[in-house]
């Protein structure tokens, strides 16, 4: 009798927990989707770095932090997704510099973009991330050392990094991340739709669905 009471209480609690996880997840995804629909302008800015053709019908928006380890692991995977359908998918990168001093690295990237060396700078920084992120905090001198051999005009880079334009962009990026309730990185939107739950497979599935919707014959 007591055992039955105990076991049924335990089972009911666990079931309630699992149901809660499921319901909360569904509601969250719905809300994130609505939020993205209401804030279309916050999803992509005209200055945002883009990889892929302008007429691609599937657009992946990735909010990322250059200092985030998971973002680093996702980068080659996202590029693989793009490489599989180079004419149909484009990638828009947005910043969510949540780590301490991350905005320094975002400034390096944006200044490098002004010299037309965005993607190589991004790749070298992601590759060497362990060298300039210590205990989840960016070490600016170490990050600066990584971009020495890319043929960048370093004086100009340093000047541009201080420019009010880049500071304004970083503020805009953070405001947009806030408006879209991006709390963790990387966060993806595919044609404005958020991932139902975080994971590489979920991203692949959503991209596949959107490809099918957009290019149905």
């Amino acid at each position: 009798m007591k055992k039955a009471l105990f076991i049924s209480a335990a089972v009911i609690l666990l079931l309630a927990f699992v149901a809660g996880v499921f319901l909360y997840g569904t509601k969250k995804t719905e809300q994130a989707g609505q939020l993205a629909q209401q804030n279309r302008s916050a999803l992509v800015r005209d200055y945002s770095p883009v990889l892929g053709p302008a007429d691609a019908k599937v657009e992946i928006v990735e909010f990322f932090d250059p200092a985030c380890e998971t973002c680093r692991h996702f980068y080659p995977i996202v590029k693989e997704i793009l490489a599989a359908e180079p004419e149909r998918i484009r990638l828009v990168l947005r910043y969510a510099p949540f780590h301490q001093n991350s905005d320094y690295v975002v400034a390096v990237l944006e200044a490098a973009r002004m010299q037309g060396k965005y993607w190589e700078t991004l790749e070298i920084l992601l590759e060497s991330q362990d060298a300039w992120v210590v205990h989840h905090a960016v070490q600016p001198p170490q990050a600066w050392m990584q971009v020495q051999n890319l043929g960048l005009d370093l004086e100009r880079l340093q000047r541009d990094m201080q420019s009010p334009e880049i500071a304004a962009r970083i503020r805009q990026e953070l405001a947009d991340a806030d408006a879209l309730k991006v709390m963790k990185t990387p966060d993806f939107f595919v044609n404005g739709k958020p991932l139902p739950s975080f994971g590489f497979e979920q991203l692949q599935t959503l991209v596949r669905e959107e490809l099918e919707n957009a290019y149905r014959q």
């Binding site: 007591k2 209480a9 609690l13 996880v21 997840g25």
Partner: protein, 147 residues
């Protein structure tokens, strides 16, 4: 009949420990839900309260089958520690204790209320209530058994 009498006198004690276990289990699952599912990062004081609450689920359950009233001795220190931490946290969160004397200078501040239900119910308050109820049930069990 003596067998039956012990059985009967033990029943309320068992029920009290069971209720204490129920509160601990609901609190634990609730904390996990808010932390892992809703994604609110626990502050330092929340972590210490979790350290006191989570083991209660296992210890109290172990004391229920077969019923061992000494489980009170083993569970009470945890419950009292958690209760003291919860009370301190409540003080910090409601502004009675200034944040700068707390161990939460980095990361998630303990003084910020992330969740308020029905306009008054906060997480530190729920924690105080849960630990208080568990302590009351355990003391009642001990008191009745030694009588």
């Amino acid at each position: 009949m003596p067998m039956n009498r012990t059985q009967n006198s033990n029943d309320p004690a068992w029920t009290r420990v069971f209720l204490a276990w129920l509160i601990a289990a609901v609190s634990t699952l609730g904390a996990l839900f808010i932390g892992e599912v809703m994604g609110y990062a626990p502050c330092v004081l929340c972590w210490y309260q979790r350290i006191a609450m989570f083991p209660l689920v296992l210890i109290l359950a172990a004391g229920l089958f077969p019923f061992d009233h000494r489980v009170v001795r083993y569970a009470l220190p945890l419950a009292l520690t958690g209760w003291a931490l919860a009370l301190f946290h409540w003080g910090v969160a409601s502004g009675l204790i200034p944040e700068n004397v707390t161990p939460c200078s980095q990361g998630v501040p303990c003084s910020v209320e992330q969740i308020v239900w029905f306009g008054f119910l906060t997480l530190p308050m729920l924690s105080v209530l849960a630990f208080s109820a568990i302590i009351a049930l355990l003391l009642l069990t001990r008191f009745k058994v030694t009588q």
